[in-house]
């Protein structure tokens, strides 16, 4: 049995920042499904928000204004104490990342450059061209190399060991060796990322299965606000690769088949820089009402950068140009980019407080897999990179405090018995059944994209729940081709699939039950926000029967009273 003081699961920004914060004082182990540098944080493009007030047009920006924009963007579902904390910390962590070597783009005066982003009152998004996630993840990974953090690359967690009130560690799977290994830890932190791949159309990396959320849920940890799914307005058609919001921040237009900048009919003041939920609905409406364009890969809207000119595109959006050339054979200097809204971000996740603590003693969560909640019903662009690093840091402080106060004793017998249970499960997967994991997964993804998408209604959500129930039945007959456990990606997929089914289930159930429209959750049959009945978080917890039990939790309001969200 492997043992660490602190076990961190996930090698993206949140996990690495937590590791850096704890490794000087504790024996830290970091498990990552891929080499940390391959984590999905690397793909973030546009930037990270912090009220540095560097932009000449933002000299009076403050963290309070950032907090207000965040809360308003969340459609008032964010916990305001947590949002305030994040925006205060933002300034510190951006400078910290800079001091650790992050190569931010610069203004002429030598300060960190900041650009406008959707839903923000000021240009406060710090960036490094359109490769901000790439430079931040490299910088933090470099920091873990400097600190000598113990990393277990290509290890995968397959179960969390929780006795109901306390976490004892995890059961891990070493993909290269094909071994199942119990890991005892005084504190366990999940920083496992989002669930984009439960959707058919998603900007997310292939590794973003959301299994961390599903693992926590199956271990009895409460999960929050799963019905709030962000659809990014601009995913490339076909591959659905993200076209950063910075395309619009730098001045790009959205146009329909008539060449019209249609956002003027939806949000004339903010135009293309309205928050993502609103822009995605506007684009989808244009397509649904026949004003989209046709391509063999699907209907689309144009993201037009041509008027920005070659020089600006090459200087500010070089990564976007590269992706367009590589993946659709289009040079955005010469042609508009064909885009459609795609699943992009998981606002919901493992229910934590502002210290990243969950209901279970010794178990913490941070980053996209967690729901503090700072994003509420809709996340602003530039706030996700921010959340990962801020809450990675805060998690490290909270874990330190917990361990200093003694923590709790781990029971190895629980880890051993869970390991045996997982061995049996894997044995069944490789020896029985007849359904390929991917056929089940494809059906799940299609259900989620067609029935739990941008526009929702009761009948469709009911149908989605019915489909998911049937797909769960089929999962009982899933079969993996090879009994060899090492480098068996099909086995990995089959194990994750079970957790993805649970994640999809509680997304659809939350959406079915929430009879209002708020942020990214839009119900055609309840098209307005209803604070009287629904200004509350949805909590899903797996009951003893394996079915979700739903309850609610109060939204924390400090000084921003809910009002109509207008841009």
């Amino acid at each position: 049995m492997l043992s660490h003081d602190v076990l961190i699961v996930g090698g993206g920004l949140a996990g690495l920042r937590a590791a850096v914060g704890l490794c000087d004082k504790y024996d830290v182990g970091l498990i990552s499904k891929v080499y940390p540098i391959r984590s999905h944080s690397i793909a973030a493009q546009g930037g990270i928000n912090a009220a540095l007030a560097n932009n000449p047009n933002a000299k009076d920006d403050t963290w309070e204004k950032h907090a207000f924009d965040t809360v308003k963007g969340s459609d008032y579902l964010a916990d305001q104490d947590a949002a305030e904390l994040m925006c205060q910390e933002a300034i510190k962590i951006v400078y910290e990342m800079e001091h650790w070597g992050c190569p931010f783009s610069r203004f002429p005066d030598g300060t960190i450059a900041q650009r406008p982003f959707g839903g923000a009152g000021y240009p406060r998004t710090c960036y490094s061209t359109d490769l901000t996630g790439h430079v931040l993840l490299n910088t933090l990974y470099e920091r873990t190399v400097f600190k000598g953090v113990k990393v277990y690359p290509e290890w995968f967690v397959i179960a969390l060991v929780n006795d109901g009130g306390q976490c004892h560690g995890v059961i891990a799977f070493d993909l290269q060796k094909g071994e199942i290994i119990p890991v005892r830890a005084k504190a366990t932190l999940f920083a496992t990322g989002g669930y984009g791949r439960v959707y058919f159309y998603s900007t997310n990396a292939l590794i973003n299965t959301g299994s961390g959320i599903g693992i926590a849920y199956k271990a009895g940890v409460p999960i929050k606000d799963m019905e709030f799914v962000q659809f990014h307005p601009t995913g490339l058609i076909g591959t659905n690769i993200l076209m950063t919001e910075a395309c619009r921040g730098e001045g790009g237009y959205l146009t329909n088949k008539d060449g019209e900048r249609f956002m003027k009919r939806y949000v004339p003041n903010a135009m293309e820089l309205a928050p993502r939920d609103i822009v995605s609905r506007s684009i989808q409406t244009e397509i649904d009402e026949g004003r989209g364009l046709e391509h063999p890969l699907g209907k689309y809207i144009n993201l037009d950068l041509r008027h920005l000119g070659a020089e600006k595109i090459l200087a500010k959006l070089p990564g976007i140009r590269h992706i367009c050339l590589d993946f659709i054979g289009i040079d955005p200097i010469l042609e508009p980019i064909p885009i459609m809204p795609c699943q992009h971000y998981s606002m919901g996740g493992i229910d934590t407080n502002e210290k990243c603590a969950t209901d279970v003693k010794g178990f913490y969560a941070a980053g996209e897999c967690a729901c503090v909640s700072v994003h509420g019903a809709n996340r602003l662009g530039g706030n996700s990179l921010l959340e990962t690093i801020v809450f990675g840091k805060l998690a490290s402080l909270a874990v330190d405090e917990y361990l200093q106060n003694g923590g709790a004793k781990q029971d190895e017998r629980l880890l051993i018995s869970k390991k045996e249970e997982m061995e049996k499960k894997i044995h069944t997967l490789v020896h029985e059944g007849n359904e390929k994991p991917y056929t089940i997964l494809t059906d799940l993804r299609k259900t989620m994209s067609s029935l739990v998408g941008i526009f929702r209604k009761k009948e469709e959500l009911g149908q989605a729940l019915k489909n998911i129930g049937e797909i769960k039945e089929r999962y009982k007959h899933v079969h993996v081709s090879s009994p060899k456990l090492h480098m068996n990606y099909e086995l990995l997929n089959a194990i994750e699939l079970e957790y993805m089914l649970e994640v999809a289930h509680i997304i659809a159930l939350g959406a079915y039950l929430r009879e209002e429209s708020r942020g990214a959750h839009f119900r055609r049959d309840f098209s307005t926000r209803n604070d009287a009945d629904w200004l509350k978080h949805t909590i899903a917890k797996m009951g003893p029967d394996g079915e979700p039990a739903i309850s609610s939790k109060k939204v924390i309001i400090t000084k921003y009273q809910p009002m109509e969200r207008k841009y």
Binding site: V34, Y35, I37, R38, S39, H40, I42, A43, Y95, E98, H99, W100, G101, P103, F104, S105, R106, F107, P108, G110, T111, I112, S128, L131, H134, V135, N138, T139, E142, R143, V145, F146, Q176, A205, L206, I207, G238, T239, I241, L242, P296, L297, G319, H322, I323, D326, F327, I328, G329, K436, P437, Y438, S481, S482, K484, H486, M487, N488, Y489, E490
Partner: protein, 244 residues
């Protein structure tokens, strides 16, 4: 119109856990649309035909560096290579050279990471940090544009003829990473930091035949870094100049 064509993928199969079974090619025939990438084709083969096939992937958008391999003799990322690129309906896939195979297209990257860690790939400063950002001009920032783009995919490592004969050579990616920090106006590592690469295992080992530049999917041009660090070393060792 999107057209569909049959393609044959010949994929090298090998399992280091079964060394008695020699590496061999397995052929898979699938119908794909012409714009499809090699990575998407591999995923379809794994999902629909042969679940035992092993390869790495993550972002599928040429930013994470997982899926470097040899595609019809050329080293590249599978995710950014379209199946229609080759004017042939047969595509041969092999693992990245200069590494031990773990299974099929998955190689053991340990030597690559060891070299990366050896050059101390992090900002080194002796001055105290300011309250705000360390000032850096736009021009100073732009000096590292090219080397910052490295995604550590190891295409260059696989393409390097020096590594093929000397596994102790630092390799293109590690040298480019070292230059990324040496060039950074904020970095204050001493000139002695270049001693690590001042020999045949370092910058003087390079054949300068530019295979790494050819293989790099991100235009990092590691040979430029080799040449630049050689110049800095000469100026420093012979003329006592700093390395900045």
């Amino acid at each position: 119109m999107i057209t569909e064509n049959y393609y044959t993928f010949k994929i090298l199969r090998y399992d280091a856990k079964e060394p008695d079974v020699a590496p061999n090619f397995t052929s898979y025939r699938i119908k794909v649309v012409s714009g499809l990438t090699v990575l998407m084709a591999l995923l379809r083969i794994q999902e629909e035909i042969d679940g035992t096939l092993s390869f790495r992937s993550s972002c599928r958008s040429a930013v994470c560096g997982s899926c470097a391999m040899v595609i019809n003799g050329k080293i590249d990322l599978a995710c950014r290579t379209q199946v229609a690129t080759f004017g042939s309906n047969t595509i041969v896939l092999e693992p990245l050279p200069n590494f031990e195979i773990i299974k099929d297209l998955v190689v053991d990257m340990t030597p690559f990471w060891n070299m990366y860690e050896k050059i101390r790939p992090y900002l080194i400063r002796t001055s105290p940090d300011p309250d705000k950002e360390i000032q850096q001009s736009e021009e100073e920032r732009s000096r590292i544009d090219q080397v910052v783009n490295c995604i550590l995919c190891a295409c260059c490592y696989g393409a390097c003829p020096v590594l093929a004969r000397d596994p102790e050579y630092a390799g293109p990616a590690a040298i480019a990473k070292l230059e990324r920090f040496v060039l950074d106006s904020r970095d204050e590592r001493p000139a002695s930091a270049l001693d690590e690469v001042n020999d045949e295992k370092g910058v003087w080992g390079c054949d300068t035949i530019l295979r790494c530049i050819d293989a790099c999917p991100k235009d990092v041009r590691p040979t430029d870094s080799v040449v630049s660090l050689r110049k800095k070393l000469i100026k420093h060792k012979l003329f006592g100049k700093g390395i900045k």
